[in-house]
């Protein structure tokens, strides 16, 4: 019986002589960048591989190598790799996928869906969209900034952890095409010195680029309306009288505000008549900690706090209205209103032609802001 057990325990270790991969020779891809060349209609692939040179005990010099491949489709482009390198899409892990704006505009899911069926390919890795010249960026920045790939990896994780914008994995993107209610907002980054910064989010409807971009402020509103705004993120801005934003004409009455969200609850309710949808309401209740409200902290009297709670609610509502308008124009249901309607109100859902009705439907956001750390009794 011992022999039998030994044999059984050996089974999981059968990596096979045929499939062995030598660690030293593995190309671990930190960044895979995909671009579409509008002139010759070719797909260009950049992969950034970091290798350690002069390794000692716990030390070594990191060198980044960028390889460029091109071909009529992404599969063929990757196939080119076997003639130049060790075909890094086989038996490697990828840190981040970056799509150029041009690549993202040309039905990216059709090009990428083979990754789902490819063994060893990383499909749990975040996808980002790069604003600007991705070729120039990947060919220059990683060579100068030795910590670029590590910083980029940390950056994408921080976006998710700090609830600035959730990561969209390669699998999320590919599978979103199959579901009419699975629209996505993919983070857009741009170059900032020798690194990157978040520029906004590009809206995707069923895996297709709607060419509508939410700016950073709208991304914040999207997160608040999804009930995922609480966390380490800081919300700052200017607020005028009656909750008007900093574009109001009366600059004298504008005040700075800054807060973090302690608790963010969101719910979607529907109004209908004769099983016909009339209105959707996005109700957001927030408990916030303020660190700036236009006056010195000791001047924050109860009346002022109550007043500012209302002002902030109105201000956020205004911002939410423009954000929802952008989403509706793009026919992109990032807030999951359709899923909520289908799940909880199947009778109303039957009377709706979602893609046709969503851009025209009345969606009303409401904000109920409660300041939790006022310094007055």
């Amino acid at each position: 019986m011992r022999k039998a057990m030994l044999l059984l325990l050996l089974l999981p270790l059968l990596t096979g002589c045929w499939d062995r991969l030598q660690l030293r020779k593995l190309n671990l891809v930190d960044v895979a960048g995909f671009d579409f060349n509008d002139e010759n209609k070719e797909i260009e692939l950049y992969y950034l591989v970091t290798k350690l040179k002069s390794t000692g005990q716990g030390s070594g010099e990191a060198t980044s190598q960028v390889t460029k491949l091109k071909g009529p489709s992404l599969v063929e482009t990757i196939g080119q790799g076997q003639y130049t390198d060790q075909a890094p899409f086989i038996g490697i892990s990828t840190g981040t996928y970056i799509l150029s704006e041009s690549f993202a505009s040309h039905d990216p899911v059709s090009e990428l869906e083979f990754l789902l069926q490819t063994p060893y390919s990383s499909i749990n890795i975040p996808v980002m969209i790069f604003e600007g010249n991705i070729a120039k960026f990947l060919e220059t920045v990683p060579k100068v900034n030795k910590e670029f790939s590590e910083n980029l990896n940390d950056f994408s994780r921080a976006l998710e952890m700090n609830r600035i914008i959730p990561n969209i994995s390669m699998m999320n993107l590919i599978l979103s095409r199959e579901d009419t209610l699975e629209d996505l907002a993919i983070p857009v980054i741009k170059q900032a010195d020798l690194g990157v910064e978040l520029s906004g989010a590009l809206l995707f409807r069923q895996g297709l680029n709607t060419e509508t971009k939410l700016n950073k402020e709208q991304v914040q509103m999207m997160m608040l309306m999804k009930g995922k705004g609480s966390g380490k993120q800081r919300y700052t801005g200017m607020i005028g009288e009656n909750g008007k934003g900093h574009n109001s004409t009366d600059k004298k009455n504008e005040r700075n505000y800054g807060f973090s969200v302690k608790k963010d609850d969101s719910s979607i309710t529907f109004t209908s008549k004769d099983k016909k949808l009339q209105k959707a309401k996005v109700n957001v209740h927030m408990e916030i900690n303020i660190f700036d409200l236009g006056k010195s902290f000791h001047e924050n009297k109860p009346d002022y706090i109550n007043h500012m709670e209302k002002e902030l609610s109105n201000h956020l509502k205004d911002l939410a209205v423009t954000t929802i308008e952008s989403m509706q124009k793009a026919n992109c249901d990032i807030l999951g209103i359709g899923r909520e309607l289908k799940s909880h109100h199947p009778d109303i859902w039957k009377s709706v032609d979602w893609r046709k009705d969503y851009p025209l439907m009345k969606i009303e956001p409401t904000f109920d802001v409660q300041i939790m750390n006022s310094d007055v009794e």
């Binding site: 019986m1 022999k3 039998a4 057990m5 044999l7 059984l8 325990l9 089974l11 999981p12 270790l13 059968l14 990596t15 096979g16 002589c17 045929w18 499939d19 892990s93 789902l116 063994p119 060893y120 990383s122 499909i123 749990n124 890795i125 959730p166 994995s169 699998m171 599978l175 199959e178 579901d179 009419t180 209610l181 699975e182 999951g336 899923r339 909520e340 289908k342 799940s343 909880h344 199947p346």
Partner: protein, 365 residues
């Protein structure tokens, strides 16, 4: 002798659970959602319930001959020629089940983990290990199975951790819209996934217990555990994928494991599949053992050289199995296997039980 020592109730539970679960874990609930959609969790539950009914039938049959296995008492119910035929059919069915599991999992490994390793190498290595274990006694097999339960529990944890990431509970709503007809229709493929409990037909007299009723309770616990396990997988899959997404993914659990992001292990699917190989091997060696035991009774005298029979079956499985490296042929074989399962584990025991009742009634009169 093959069964000098009896097995405990705990060993019976382990044996049944690990024979039931196998390759289907990676596919659940794809087949069960073809009509039932996101209501497939109900089909899984009904499938478990159907399996419980068959367990009850098998228990009722075995209880009538508490000191004998089906191989022996079949002659007193059906007579010798038909008894030999039934034993031969069961031997073929068990060998075929063993083959089905081993080629299905070799195919999975070949597609996801060891895609350069020749199919016959994976098949051969798994069959050598399984045949070696199947050639030992029932008691030894049960003890090994008990040890493999730890690996099963590791896999259980991996499934649970990887499945509870980002998802949407609204994928389950609105409940029951696919209709009861669709749900029952899909409970049939679910029922196939529960196969394995028919080993009771053989092991019944070799279970150590104070009352025979305890065997039924142990079988129910095992089947209940498998039902809950399948239900958990269905819930995890439906939580992660919407109905329309599930239509494009035939092995949802593989994608859930691949979806999981953890800095320590990049590809959790590869880790899971290699550990799960031990769990599927249990199904292979249990069916191989049973096949040899049924085969031993095809003939006028019982063939007592059990290891020889097992190795013959192992070599046969390998010889046939190497022709199934093409996935399409596995699909065709699977269709045949499902029909055979329905007949051999549900229909045949029911008919034998009815004949046994009738014969008893006639004898009394």
């Amino acid at each position: 002798m093959i069964h000098l020592k009896k097995i405990s109730l705990n060993q019976l539970i382990c044996l049944v659970i690990l024979t039931q679960v196998g390759v289907s874990v990676l596919e659940i609930p794809y087949a069960e959602s073809r009509h039932a959609g996101y209501d497939s969790w109900m089909s899984i539950l009904i499938g478990g319930l159907l399996a419980q009914i068959v367990i009850f039938i098998i228990y009722q049959l075995s209880k009538r001959y508490p000191d004998q296995s089906l191989q022996q008492y079949i002659f007193s119910i059906l007579g010798k020629p038909l008894g030999w035929l039934v034993n031969l059919l069961f031997a073929l069915y068990c060998a075929e089940s063993s083959l089905m599991v081993v080629i299905s999992y070799a195919d999975v490994l070949n597609r996801w983990v060891l895609f350069q390793t020749p199919f016959f190498v994976i098949l051969g290595i798994t069959l050598v290990v399984a045949t070696y274990i199947a050639s030992s006694t029932l008691r030894s097999i049960s003890t090994i199975t008990q040890s493999i339960l730890n690996m099963f529990l590791i896999c259980f944890v991996i499934i649970f951790i990887s499945g509870m990431g980002k998802g949407d509970w609204r994928h389950f709503l609105p409940i029951g819209t696919h209709g009861i007809g669709a749900i029952i229709k899909d409970s049939l493929p679910a029922f196939w996934a529960y196969a394995g409990y028919e080993l009771l037909l053989y092991v019944f007299p070799f279970v150590k217990c104070k009352k025979k009723k305890h065997i039924f309770i142990a079988m129910s616990i095992a089947n209940g555990f498998t039902t809950l396990f399948y239900l958990l997988i269905t819930i995890i899959v439906t939580y992660n994928f919407s109905e329309s997404q599930l239509n494009t993914i035939t092995e949802p659990m593989v994608y859930i494991l691949r979806k999981f992001r953890w800095p320590v292990v990049q590809s959790l699917d590869i880790l899971f599949m290699t550990i799960w190989l031990s769990v599927t091997t249990v199904t292979v060696f249990v069916y191989m053992f049973l096949s040899a035991r049924y085969l031993a009774f095809v003939g006028k005298k019982e063939i007592r050289n059990h290891p020889l029979l097992v190795w013959i079956i192992g070599i046969l499985c390998f010889s046939v199995g190497i022709w199934f490296s093409d996935r399409q042929s596995i699909f065709k074989f699977s269709e045949y296997h499902n029909k055979a399962t329905m007949i051999m584990i549900a229909l045949v025991p029911t008919i034998i039980l009815l004949i046994s009742y009738v014969r008893e009634k006639v004898a009394r009169e």
